[in-house]
Structure formats: C-alpha cells, structure tokens
Amino acid sequence: MELLIALAIGTLTGSGVWLLLRPRTYQVVIGLALLSYAVNLFIFSMGRLRVNAPPVLDGSMPVDPAAYTDPLPQALVLTAIVIGFATTALFLVVLIVSRGLTGTDHVDGRESDR
C-alpha cells in the first residue's frame, strides 16, 4: 500500500512541477493545484496509512491510541486544503488581473523574446 501512495505522490508532484515551470499563468495555477494534492497526501501519509481504522472515538475510556489513525496530520491537511483553495483563488485572480493589465498571460507579464 505504501508503494502505491508513494508513486501517487510522485506522479502528482512530477506533473505539478512540470506545470510550475511552464510560461503560461494558467499552467502554473493548475500545477500548483496538482502540487497541493501531492503535498496534502504527503503530509497525511506522515501519520502512516491505516485501512479500516475507526476515525471517531467510541466514547469509552481509557482510549487506546494504537486503535486509531493519527489525527494530527489529518487536522493539518484539513486546514491545508482550505488554505490551498484560498491560494488557488488568489492566483487565479492575479492571473486574470495581470492578463488584463499587461495584455498577456505569460508569467513575466510580457512575452519572452527567446
């Protein structure tokens, strides 16, 4: 299972990085979104993978931590998802405004002169 998730993270990262280096702003926005999937999965996997572990306490005391998934990376990723959404929105708007101001969608604000 670890191998699969590792490969998934790798694929998402690779695609994201490729897009990050492209010259068009839209490509960069999509690349950042893919990269954020990868990073979220990566942080999540730091709590190790558990299949079929109860995600919610049953209310009995005392609690045996070994029976549950690690909640901390989940909490981190939850906030990361929301912040990731916010940054994507911000980048998108910067993209639109920059396109309106400079007349091009190149990341440098002007076409490269190769």
Binding site: A6, L12, L21, G31, F44, R114
Partner: protein, 974 residues
C-alpha cells in the same frame, strides 16, 4: 531624609519630551506660539524635575528605576541618574529651553513649525534616554534614536539639496557608528556578564583583561568618534550646518555631538588606561584638535567656522579622556560644560547675524557693530571664552588641559608632542575667534547686504544673554558657582579615583599660564599675518580644500550602493519567473538528495503486498489524469481542468480508503468550489491556437527536456522520501495525547475537529484570518479591474444563440440565453434549502462525527453558488442579498469573542468551555464553547468563498456594459 523626588520621575524625564513631540506634531503647522509654549513647558518641566533631583545625586548618589522588558535576555528598561547624567540632563533641558525660545523668533512664519518642534522634542527625549539609560542596550537604542531625529532635524528644510545631503551623510555616518556601538555594547555585556550599567562599570578589571576587550573597544570607539565628529569621521558636521541654526545650537554644541564624549567619559573607568585606548583615542583626539582648529581659520561661512571649532574642541575633550589620568578626566568633564555654554551662544549669535544681515559669508559681512551693538558685545564675550581668555570659563578648562598635556602619561612620541600641539591649537583657536569678531563686527560699513541689519527682538537675544552670563560667572568665581556641581559629576564618573583639584582663576606663574600667553600672542600675530589672504579667499583651508571628505564619502556611497548593486544584479539576478523557480526546485532537489544520500542501502523491499487492486486501478486513472492535465494545460484548458478534477477525486477517495473521512468530505467540497472558480476564470484568458507553435526551435526543446528532467527528479524524490518515511515505524507523537484527551477534555469524539477548534484553536483562528484576508484581496483586486479587450465581448455561444433568436420570427433576442439549462436550473433552485440543511447538519455533528465548520461553510457557499449558476448574477442579486463581507466580519468577531470569553473566567485565550468543567453529564451535550468558535469558522468560510466567487462572477456583468454602448465594433470583429 524624605524627599518628594521619586525614581519614577526618571520615566517622566525621558517620556515627557516624546509625549510633547506627539502633541506638537498634532498642532497646526503655523501655530508658532502654541508650539513654542508647548515645547518650552516640556523643556522647563524637564529642567525643574532634573534640578530637584540634585540632592539625590550629590555625593555620588544613584537613583534607578527598573521596568522589566525581556528578563530572559537580561533586557530591562532601566533608567538611572547619577551626578554625571544629572549634569547632562541639565544641559539637555536647560539649553533645550533656551533653544526653544530662540527658535520661536528664528523660524520664519513660512516654515512648518509643527514638524520642527515635534522633531526637536523627540530629539530631546532621545538624548535624555542616552544619558539616563541604566542598561547599555537601551543606551544603544536611544543612541540610534538621536541619529534618526538629528537626521530629520538637519534635513528640516528638505527643499534644499544641501539639507538633504547633509542629513543623509550625518545619518549614514552616525547611524553606522551606532550599529557598531550596539555590537560593542553586546560584547561589553558578554564580558561583564550583565547589560546593567552598574554591573558593567564595576567589572572594569575583568573587561580590560578580557580577550574581547580590543574588538569591543574598537566598536564602541567607532560609535563614539563618529558621533562626536572626530577625525577621520569629522566631515559630516560641517555639512550638517545646512540645518536651521537653532538645531545647530542645540545638536552641534550641547547635545548630539556631546553624546560621543559623554560615552567616552561614561565608560572611562571601564575602558581607559590601556595602551590601545591611549593611542587610538589620543591620536584621534590630537589630530582632530589640531586639524579642526586649523580648518576653522579658513572658513568663510560663519557656521562653518563654528562647526570646525566644535570639532576641534571635541578633539580637545577626546584627547583629555585618552590620557587616562583622573585629573584629565576632570578637565574633560569641565570642558564639556563650558564648551556647551559658549558654543550654543555663538551659534545663536551667528543665527542672529544671518537672520538680520541675510548672509553668513564673512567676505560680505563687515562693521556690523554699529547695527547690532548688544549682539556684538555678547558674541565677543562668548568668542573670548572660546579663545580661552582669562576670566571666562573657557580659560579655566583650557588651563587644566595645558597642565595635563605637560604631564608624562605614557612615554611615547604622542605624549612628547602633546604640549606643543596643545599650544599651537590654542593659538589657532585665538586666531579664528578674533577673525569671527573682527571680520563681522568691525571694519568698514557693509556694502550690498541682502537686508538692512538691526537688533533682533529682545527675547531672541535673551538665551544668548543667559549663556554669556553663565560664561562670565563660571569664569570669575568658578569654585562658588559650578564647583559643587562639577564635583558631583566627577565623583559619579571617577568614584574612588576622584583626584584633588582646585578651580581657581589664578594658580600663580606656571607653565600652563606661559602656554596660554604664548597661544594668545601667537594667535593675534597669526591673524594679522593671514588677514589679507582671508579677506577674499575661497571657502576652506589651502590644499585641503581640494581633499574633501564629503566628496570621498559620496564617491564611496555611489560605488557601493549603486554601481556595485547594479553589477551584482546584472550578474546574479533575473526578472524572469521561470529561471527563479527552476533554481528553487533545483536547490530543493539537491537538498533532498543530500539528505537521503546513503539511505538507498536501507531501502526496504519494494513489496506490492497489501495493495488493494481497486485502489491501484483508481490510481492508474488518477496518475493518468495528473499527467494528462500537465500535458493539456496549455492548449486545452477545460480538458486540463477536468483532468485535474479527476486527480482530485482519486485523492479524495484515497482519504476515505485510509480512514480519513473528514479530509475526504472537505476535499470533495473544495474540489467543487475550485472547479467552479476556475471555470469562471477561464472566460478571461486569451485564445491559444495549437498550430502557431508547431515549429519548435532547439533552444525550446532543450529547455523543455531540462524541465522534464527536473519534474521527473522531483517526482521520484518525493516518492522515495514518502516511501522511506512510511516504511519506518511511527514514533510516539503528540497525536496520541490528542486521542487520549479529545473526549475527556475537548468533549468531542471527532478528534480531528476537536484539534481544530479546541487544542489548536489558535492556529485555526490564524488560518481563518488568512482566509478572510485572501478573500478581501481578491475582492480588492477585482473591484477596479477591467478585463483585457479581446475577452470583453459576449462569448461566442451566447452570440450564436442570440443570432438564432434573431432569425426566428416569434422569438425575442436573449430568450434562448435566458432559458439555457432551464431544467437543471429549476432543480438547483429547489436544492437550495436542502443544501442549507445539509450544511447545518454537517456543522452540528462536526464535534463528534466527520463534518465541522470548514465543511459546512463550503457546503453553504456551494448552495449560494448554485443559485448564481442557475439564475445568473442579476437574478440572484435581485432576490437574495448575501453581503459576504458581513459574514466574514461576523465570523471573525464570533471566533474572537469566543476566545476572549475564556479571559472572563481567568483562562488563556481560546480555552474551551470543557476544560474547566468537572460535571460529568455535560459531556453528552454538544454545547462546548468550541461550537461557537466553529460557528465563527463556518461563517467566515461562507463569507470568504462567496465573496471570491461573486467578485469573479461580477466581471461578466461589468464587461458587458461597454459592448452594448458600441455595437458596431462588435459586429466588425465577428
């Protein structure tokens, strides 16, 4: 002995000028009288409070007031007054008061005086801080403040180039010195083991024998010598003469430049007495004394002459302090006092001459005695004091200085030449003093002066009268007038080393008296010899006028800060984003390789065991989606967006699979909103045709292969890192604590939610603030935005539909567009209450089951979003006023109030209600204060998301407007 004087008054002494400065800044900029009264009262108050402190500091008394600042670092706001600080505090407030009175008449009604008095008072406060600091770091802080306010004061007439240049130079030199001083103070504190001034003063022996003594000494001297304009840093002072004269009278006679020698004297018991001190300080002092005096003779600008004379006198003080003998230190302290009085009055006199005659150029000034008899008399007395004429205060300290130079301190050349240098410098001082008086006040009547001179208003002269009176009193009856005050200051510095000394005008016929006589005669003779040359010579001394410190300084500044920076930018920097990102990625990858180097040996077997085939299949699709999105993002944006969504969905399913339902819910909802958002944005991007870019030149091909290699390396790297980490067993983490205490202390069974709203509530609070800021930024960016020209026309599909309406006889134009997606839109409208209910459900169960404020908030905003999709922007806003900014505000307020609420019960910010209840049955009820906090999160997420979506959606309405106005161009383009 009971007294009304309390150590808290020290805070008043330092703080009052700053408060006064604030009020001065708020007054109207031409309220000359109000400003002068305010500043005068502040200075007078400071003077009175200081004067009342005298009984406390007499006989070596010390008063301290400590306010803790960062106790862990040994930093405290310690204010401390002893006899020496008292003397300076009196000078600062006393001369400050006189300068305020003088400035009232000096400043023209056209000058914005609010700024002037505000800076002057703030400077007074900073200066008080320097002398009254009981902590050496605090001293360095106030030291820098004096540099900054002197910058502002010198540059007060910021419309003139000279003022701006002079101010900048003064700040660069003294500010740099101040930074050195700070470093020196840190070293000093390290050596003494404390930053407390008393502790440092008591640790003299340890410090002088410490390895760090020399570096600390060099750094502290860099601070002190730059501030006191000692050679080779002297050149900023003459340039600072571009300041208004009251500023010069205050800063460049009594306060700012005295800070350097104050510091040397303050740390004299700790630092002095070594060879390094003797040679560095002595050489600087001696060369400054001589050069300053020599250059002063050749100045044509009155204030320039006084500036160089100040440099010379400061050199004299520095030289005295370098000798290391207690008697010399007494003379130095005495001369600080004397110089302040006569030099302040001379600056004021120069200001009056400038004010009345309209020029300060000595080549044009002449015979002013008949016009300004009183001012002339006062200036003559002050000049005589400057020259060291008997029966004036300057004579006494100069006599002590001569006596000290004769003594043997350290067998060396420096010591041997000291008496000769002193006599020559004394003669020079006589020459420039005579020149000042003779040239300005005597001789033929002036011709073509800019103004007809006459006596200034009486109150403008009063400060000078008082200062000159002080020169006379001290000069005639020194022991009676300042004897005890000087003694108080001296004892505070020298303590048990205080020598026997006598303040008397007449010490009998001795060598110092002979030196004085020689200096007087030689000075007069020199003036007579030089007079013809000086009558209309150029500004500055012969030969040296070519070698200008200012020019060298400017040259260095330009080279370092402009040429050097340009060169480095040209070599190292790029304005292109792609190379920068490439570098960042490369560094990250290399860092990763470096960290993982050698870990390949321990690579666990790449087992495929435990991989669920279904999840594996899903990830084949997910991976293809990701790669496809990367491939298509340039030419097929919509396809790329759909593929990206595919990868997101697989990620979402993975979360479910791996026991993280909260993440899955949030991810799914965010996915929806993101997709809609980007769909809205797609409309504003330029068309891109694949055909144009078919021919690819080799350079591009190379760049692409390089990027591809980077992408593959990054992917492989993260995959390896993730795999290695996942295969190592999980060490005990803080997560266990949260699991164990979520129910008992947070009152919820959904641990993730309890962490978010309770354990780490403050982090969440910060996060929603960020979200709110982002939303407002988006709103602000789009508020005044007009999209690019080629995207502002009506979309192709809508045009086609309108054309269809046009052709049909029974249809109005716009009907097809209106009814577009009619059935789905009706369903979407009906769904609204259902979605609101779902949001409420997700919210309420969040504490115990997957859900919570984030998920509920996004669900709610999807509800609004669907209405926009179904009915269009106008339709929705005619029926539903959402006011997203209020949602954001309410959310933040709710979260803050919930957090503050715990303060009422004496708990830290954001302590949850469940943390302080012991009642067992309350755990069954979801009434935690955390729920209110979560409500804040919910509200903010709704507001932020909706605000962003609406801001983008509104662009469509806006851009449509200019199109309807000019339909002809529309037709031409299609």
């Amino acid at each position: 002995m009971t007294t009304i004087w309390h150590s808290g008054f020290l805070v008043l002494l330092v703080g009052l000028p700053f408060v006064g400065s604030l009020f001065a800044a708020l007054l109207s900029s031409n309220a000359r009288n109000a400003e002068a009264w305010l500043a005068g009262f502040v200075a007078l108050g400071g003077l009175a409070v200081t004067a009342l402190a005298y009984p406390q500091v007499a006989d070596g008394g010390v008063v301290k007031h400590v306010i803790q600042w960062v106790p862990a670092l040994g930093l405290s706001v310690t204010l401390r007054i002893d006899g020496f600080a008292w003397m300076f505090s009196m000078l600062i407030t006393g001369i400050g008061l006189l300068v305020v009175i003088y400035a009232r008449y000096y400043m023209s009604p056209k000058d914005p005086v609010a700024r002037f008095y505000a800076f002057l008072l703030a400077f007074m406060g900073a200066m008080q801080g320097v002398v009254l600091s009981g902590n050496i770091i605090l001293l360095a802080v106030f030291w820098e403040l004096t540099s900054i306010f002197s910058f502002l004061l010198i540059g007060y007439w910021n419309h003139t180039q000279a003022a701006r240049d002079g101010a900048r130079m003064a700040l660069t030199i003294t500010g740099t010195g101040g930074l050195c001083l700070l470093a020196g103070m840190v070293l000093l504190g390290q050596m003494a083991g404390s930053y407390d001034l008393d502790a440092v003063l008591a640790a003299g022996n340890e410090i002088r024998n410490h390895d760090l003594y020399v570096p600390a000494l060099l750094l502290i001297l860099a601070g002190a010598l730059t501030k006191s304009a000692q050679f080779p840093f002297h050149f900023w002072l003459p340039n600072a003469m571009a300041a208004p004269t009251p500023v010069s009278a205050y800063l460049h006679s009594a306060t700012m430049v005295k800070a350097g020698v104050f510091l040397l004297a303050r740390f004299w018991p700790v630092l002095a007495g070594t060879d390094e001190w003797f040679f560095i300080v002595g050489l600087a002092g001696m060369s400054t004394l001589l050069l300053g005096a020599a250059f002063a003779i050749f100045q044509q600008d009155l204030k320039g002459l006084l500036a160089y004379s100040t440099i010379s006198h400061l050199g004299l003080i520095t030289l005295l302090l370098s000798l290391g003998s207690p008697l010399a230190a007494v003379a130095a302290i005495f001369h600080m006092l004397n110089h302040a009085t006569f030099k302040a009055s001379l600056f004021m006199a120069a200001g009056i001459i400038d004010h009345e005659a309209g020029t300060r150029d000595m080549r044009r000034l002449s015979g002013l005695f008949t016009f300004l008899p009183i001012t002339a008399t006062l200036a003559m007395v002050a000049s005589a004091a400057m020259a060291g004429v008997p029966l004036l205060n300057g004579f006494l300290s100069k006599e002590m200085f001569f006596a000290e130079t004769i003594e043997q301190h350290r067998a060396s050349l420096l010591d041997g030449v000291a008496p000769y240098v002193a006599t020559i410098a004394g003669a020079f001082a006589v020459t420039y003093s005579i020149r000042f008086i003779h040239k300005v006040f005597f001789g033929p009547k002036p011709v073509d002066l800019p103004r007809e001179p006459h006596e200034p208003p009486h109150w403008m002269r009063v400060p000078i009268e008082l200062l000159v009176l002080a020169c006379l009193i001290v000069g005639i009856i020194p022991a009676l007038s300042v004897g005890s005050l000087l003694d108080t200051a001296v004892v505070a510095v020298l303590r048990e080393d205080t020598p026997e000394y006598s303040l008397a005008v007449w010490h009998g016929f001795n060598l110092p008296l002979l030196m004085s006589v020689i200096a007087l005669v030689a000075g007069v003779v020199l003036y007579l010899l030089l007079q013809p040359y000086l009558r209309d010579s150029e500004e500055g001394p012969p030969f040296f006028r070519r070698l200008k410190g200012q020019r060298i300084f400017e040259r260095i500044l330009v080279t370092v800060s402009w040429r050097g920076a340009r060169y480095l930018e040209g070599v190292l920097a790029t304005r292109k984003l792609q190379p920068q990102l490439r570098m960042l990625l490369l560094v990250a990858i290399l860092a990763g390789i470096w960290a993982m180097w050698g870990a390949g040996d321990q690579l666990p077997d790449l087992s495929v065991r435990g991989i669920d085939p279904i999840l594996a299949m899903l990830w084949v699709i997910g991976g293809l989606c990701a790669v496809g999105a990367a491939y298509q993002a340039k030419f097929h944006r919509l396809a790329a967006l759909i593929l990206m969504g595919g990868a997101g969905l697989v990620t979402c399913i993975t979360f479910v699979w791996l026991s993280a339902p909260d993440l899955a819910v949030t991810q799914l909802l965010v996915e929806i909103v993101t997709t809609v958002l980007i769909l809205l944005g797609l409309r504003w991007l330029p068309k891109r045709d694949e055909e144009i870019y078919e021919s690819i030149d080799p350079k591009t091909r190379l760049r692409r292969s390089r990027d591809f290699a980077l992408a593959v390396a990054a992917g492989l790297g993260t995959a390896t890192l993730a795999y290695l980490t996942m295969r190592t067993p999980l060490p005990p983490s803080v997560g266990d604590y949260y699991l164990e205490h979520a129910y008992s202390e947070g009152g919820g069974t959904n641990v993730v939610n309890v962490i978010l709203v309770d354990f780490r509530g403050f982090d969440t609070f910060g996060e929603i603030v960020v979200l709110g800021i982002v939303a407002l930024t988006v709103f602000a960016l789009l508020r005044r935005f007009r999209p690019a020209e080629d995207t502002s026309e009506i979309p192709y599909q809508q045009r086609e539909q309108n054309e269809f309406d046009d052709v049909q006889r029974d249809r109005e134009v716009g009907e097809t567009v209106k009814d577009y997606l009619l059935v789905p839109s009706v369903i979407m409208r009906w769904m609204f209450p259902v979605i609101v209910l779902l949001a409420a459900y997700l919210f309420l169960r969040g504490h115990d089951l997957p859900g919570g404020g984030f998920a509920a908030g996004i669900t709610m905003s999807i509800g609004f979003l669907l209405q926009y999709l179904a009915g269009g922007t106008r339709w929705v806003e005619e029926r539903l006023r959402i006011l997203p900014v209020r949602w954001i505000g309410f959310g933040l307020l709710m979260a803050t109030v919930t957090g503050l609420g715990s303060w009422l019960f004496g708990y830290p910010f954001l302590t949850s209600y469940f943390q302080y209840t012991e009642i067992p049955f309350i755990g069954d009820m979801p009434t935690a204060s955390a729920l209110l906090f979560d409500l804040g999160v919910f509200s903010l997420v709704v507001g932020a998301t909706v605000l962003m979506l609406i801001a983008i959606a509104h662009q469509s309405i806006r851009s449509a407007k200019p199109k309807t106005a000019k339909p002809s161009t529309d037709g031409g383009q299609s």
